[in-house]
């Protein structure tokens, strides 16, 4: 493999970083520029996904001497260097702040090359970058990402923004309602269904630290553990003030109604589990598994070979989990909150309808609309496209 040449051929064990501004950049020296370009060629040859971006992200993660912090976004600087391939460096403006020249000529240590090489191997096997690096940016947070949990996608960031818009209005309405009373408006209650890495719930808790309380659930133990870890990572040690410990259960299980008289004893245990849960959510948000099973075979290897099948496939039409959610919504979102009291201490109605936002497959909005055609409790509100112009998000209202 090409990259082996780079760290086997040189005799000098000079691992210090020195900057030769007049160095011939295409020399076999172990500098950032040569290793970067060689690795991009390698990734292209091995048909790794997104070769240039992959090289920049992985390599910048290795070069901790140049990019000590995650926020430095070293990948963007490496991306600029890649564009300068043919450029003669001699007349670059010699400014300390001009990273380009300085970075490109920096020497890379043997250890760094080895680490990078092992990452490249994984990427050549189509492993997702987020898994290789172990964390990724999502909305205004940094999240730890581990298999089998789904890597958060940019569309889900857009979902967070749409939900946030509604939450802002809710906070305002609750504040208005509480004017004159001794307490300020209560917190908005959010339920994140199928939390995975915890992305959606944690991003919302991060946006509205004092105004929301987030509950979440997932069928995977790994997801529950990872959500807790991320909640602590993003929101701090006292995250439970904003973000409840996620529940390990399915949508169907999250209920207080008895499903079956014969299972009453089991049900009682189940009910104990949820005894302290307030089924009075204002917002239900979900990025459920929504890919129709016949589409699963069209997925690229980096998705289907590494991410959890159960987090991707939503059954034959992709709507299995969505249907379950729709069925549970009326129970989850009962109005008349126990602490929604007006100034006279009388119980009052919630000043807005509960909403449900979901990220779905492009084929789903129409299907969901007809699904809800005769539903007395849940109303289809609208669908919204993502930035690529595809139908992606649906908003439902829960009628009291």
């Amino acid at each position: 493999m090409g990259y082996h040449d780079d760290h086997q051929d040189d005799d000098d064990d000079d691992d210090s970083t020195n900057n030769n501004s007049s160095t011939n950049r295409t020399s076999k020296k172990r500098n950032v520029f040569s290793i970067l370009t060689t690795s991009v060629d390698l990734l292209k040859e091995c048909k790794a996904p997104e070769p240039e971006m992959s090289a920049c992200h992985l390599f910048s993660h290795v070069l901790l001497n140049l990019f000590p912090r995650w926020e430095d976004n070293g990948f963007a600087i490496l991306a600029k260097i890649l564009q300068e391939e043919e450029q003669d460096t001699a007349d670059w403006y010699n400014d300390d702040d001009d990273h380009g020249n300085h970075v490109g000529n920096t020497q890379v240590t043997r250890e760094q090359v080895d680490i990078y090489a092992s990452m490249l191997e994984r990427r050549i096997k189509k492993e997702p970058l987020q898994y290789i690096i172990g964390q990724w940016d999502f909305h205004n947070c940094v999240l730890k990402v581990r298999p089998p949990c789904l890597c958060p996608r940019p569309e889900t960031e857009e979902l967070v923004e749409y939900v946030a818009k509604d939450i802002r209005q809710m906070i305002e309405l609750l504040r208005i309602k509480s004017v004159g009373s001794s307490t300020c408006g209560r917190k908005v209650r959010i339920l994140d269904v199928g939390c995975g890495t915890g992305a959606i719930g944690i991003a919302l808790a991060n946006m509205f630290p004092k105004d929301v309380i987030v509950s979440s659930m997932d069928v995977s133990e790994d997801a529950v553990a990872l959500s807790v870890e991320n909640a602590k990572f993003v929101l701090g040690d006292d995250f439970t003030l904003q973000y409840h410990h996620p529940l390990l259960c399915s949508v169907r299980e999250y209920t207080r109604t008895h499903l079956n008289k014969e299972e009453e004893e089991e049900e009682e245990e189940e009910e104990d589990r949820f005894a302290n849960c307030l089924f009075e959510y204002d917002v239900v948000v979900s990025n459920p598994p929504y890919i129709p099973s016949h589409d699963m075979s069209t997925l690229t290897a980096d998705v289907v070979e590494y991410e959890d099948y159960g987090a991707l496939c939503g059954g034959q039409d992709g709507l299995d989990v969505v249907r379950d959610i729709v069925e549970r919504l009326p129970e989850w979102c009962k109005g008349n909150h126990h602490d929604d009291n007006d100034t006279k201490g009388q119980r009052t109605k919630r000043p807005f309808p509960a909403v449900c936002w979901m990220e779905v497959d492009t084929s789903h909005p129409r299907l969901i609309q007809s699904l809800l055609a005769n539903n007395k409790h849940v109303e289809y509100n609208c669908e919204i496209q993502d930035l690529s112009g595809m139908d992606r998000f649906v908003k439902l209202l829960v009628k009291d």
Partner: protein, 462 residues
């Protein structure tokens, strides 16, 4: 005072005296302090010759002194003139002090520091600093004025009283006074000029940092090389003016130079100073990249945008219908089906044609935020340029025209000239200009713009 014949007699005598003398006027003044003067044949002769030497040198000195004096007076007058014009727009010391004490009362209120990020708090602090600095400046000008006036008075006195004593001590003192006065007057003049220019940079956005974006026009390699030359020019100029310039982005040309370069300039009134650079810059020269070495004309587009704080941009609302937001990922299903890390976002503002892209973040959401802020900053800048009150009053067609409008011509062959199209300012020192010597040109542009604005606002009254 001194009759002509006497002068000629003196000169004849002193000429011969000089032939023998080993004394220079300076050594005389030193030797005066020595206990034993240098020996000559005759003490009296010595005295006579010494006196004559001093007189001669003092006469010569007086001639040059007179010229120096006039020049000095002229310098002081120039300085006073500039300060006088400046003072027309400044409240006098008394009023200024009153304003300052009012602000200080507000800032000493216990609640004032409750929220340091409150815009009112920030403004009061900014105003306080500004006014205190202005007061200091006024006091400095007063002091310098006085120094110059007293110096000139002293010089006049000496001239009248000591016209012929040839007292060398006085001479030294005179030289000292002249030097001091020169220094003070020059300082006054420089600061006055600086203040004048600063006061021309008083647009709403002028004190912001500036983002300069250079784009190669049509012309291939030659155009990319032109962008290279221009970016060098701006970096050097920024250094001269003590701004901090950093290159944000570069996009290399295919053969040489750059297709585009983005520079961030930080410092006092960066945007105000550089915003006149916006437009098309035209280069005419024998192209080294042309096979026949023909004379070629190429263009480079320069755009200058202020860098604004979030609070200033937040208030701007742009209707969704005016924006076209796209990702840089290619088509396909998207969503859960795909796991691509390309997160770049492009935003186009349809009415004005503003086009912005951002790829610097991993998160698409952050890239979109940053791109949006840049669009809003550009809109604010446009609003200021077109002197509109509201963003939606910006004339879209005027934007196109402005961007393509030629602002400066740089001709390197067959003759050398840089000419600014707006003020008709020109220079033949093209090398100096391209090495960053832009102050005169930009200064002239600022003055012209300020005149225009004054006329426009005067006209608006009617």
């Amino acid at each position: 005072m001194i009759s002509l014949s006497f002068i000629s007699l003196l000169s004849k005598r002193s000429r011969s005296a000089v032939a023998f003398s080993t004394i220079s006027p300076f050594s005389f003044s030193y030797s005066k302090r020595l206990t034993s003067p240098p020996l000559l044949q005759n003490f009296h002769q010595q005295q006579y010759m010494i006196k004559n030497n001093v007189r001669r040198t003092s006469l010569c000195k007086m001639a040059t002194d007179a010229q120096e004096l006039t020049e000095l007076k002229r310098l002081v007058d120039d300085a006073k003139e500039i300060i006088r014009t400046n003072l027309e727009t400044i409240p006098n010391c008394g009023i200024l002090q009153q304003q300052i004490s009012d602000l200080e009362i507000e800032s000493s209120h216990p609640d004032f520091w409750n929220d340091p990020s409150d815009p009112r708090t920030k403004r009061v602090n900014q105003e306080l600093t500004k006014k205190n600095r202005l007061l200091e400046r006024l006091e400095m000008w007063d002091k310098l004025f006085e120094e110059c006036d007293t110096a000139l008075e002293l010089l006049d006195d000496i001239k009248r009283q000591n016209s012929f004593s040839g007292n060398a001590d006085d001479e030294e003192m005179v030289e000292l006074i002249v030097e001091e006065c020169k220094v003070a007057a020059k300082k006054l003049l420089d600061d006055g000029k600086k203040y004048e220019l600063e006061s021309l940079l008083n647009g709403k956005l002028d004190d912001k940092p500036a983002r300069i974006i250079l784009t190669a026009g049509a012309g291939g390699t030659e155009a990319c090389d032109w962008v290279d030359m221009l970016h060098r020019m701006y970096l050097r100029h920024a250094e001269r003016m003590e701004y901090r310039a950093t290159i944000q982005e570069k996009s290399a040309g295919d053969v040489v130079g750059y297709k585009s370069v983005e520079i961030l300039i930080e410092g006092t009134n960066a945007y105000g100073w550089f915003r006149g650079e916006k437009g098309a810059h035209r280069l005419v020269r024998l192209s080294p990249f042309n096979a026949n070495n023909k004379r070629q004309t190429t263009f480079a587009g320069v755009d200058v945008i202020p860098v604004l704080e979030d609070e200033e941009i937040e208030d701007i609302e742009i209707p969704e219908s005016e924006l076209e937001i796209t990702t840089m990922r290619s088509g396909g299903k998207g969503g859960q089906n795909v796991n691509k890390v390309e997160s770049g976002v492009r935003i186009k503002h349809l009415p004005t044609g503003i086009n912005v892209k951002c790829t610097q973040e991993r998160s698409q959401h952050l890239n979109r935020d940053i791109a949006m802020k840049r669009v809003k900053a550009q809109l604010l800048a446009l609003a200021q340029e077109q002197r509109c009150e509201e963003i939606n009053a910006i004339r879209g067609d005027a934007v196109e025209a402005a961007w393509g409008a030629q602002v400066r011509n740089y001709v390197l062959q067959p003759y050398k000239m840089v000419k600014d199209q707006r003020t008709n300012w020109e220079t033949s020192d093209t090398q100096g200009f391209l090495d960053g010597n832009l102050e005169d040109c930009i200064g002239e542009l600022l003055r012209a713009r300020s005149r225009e604005e004054r006329l426009a606002s005067d006209g608006a009254i009617y």
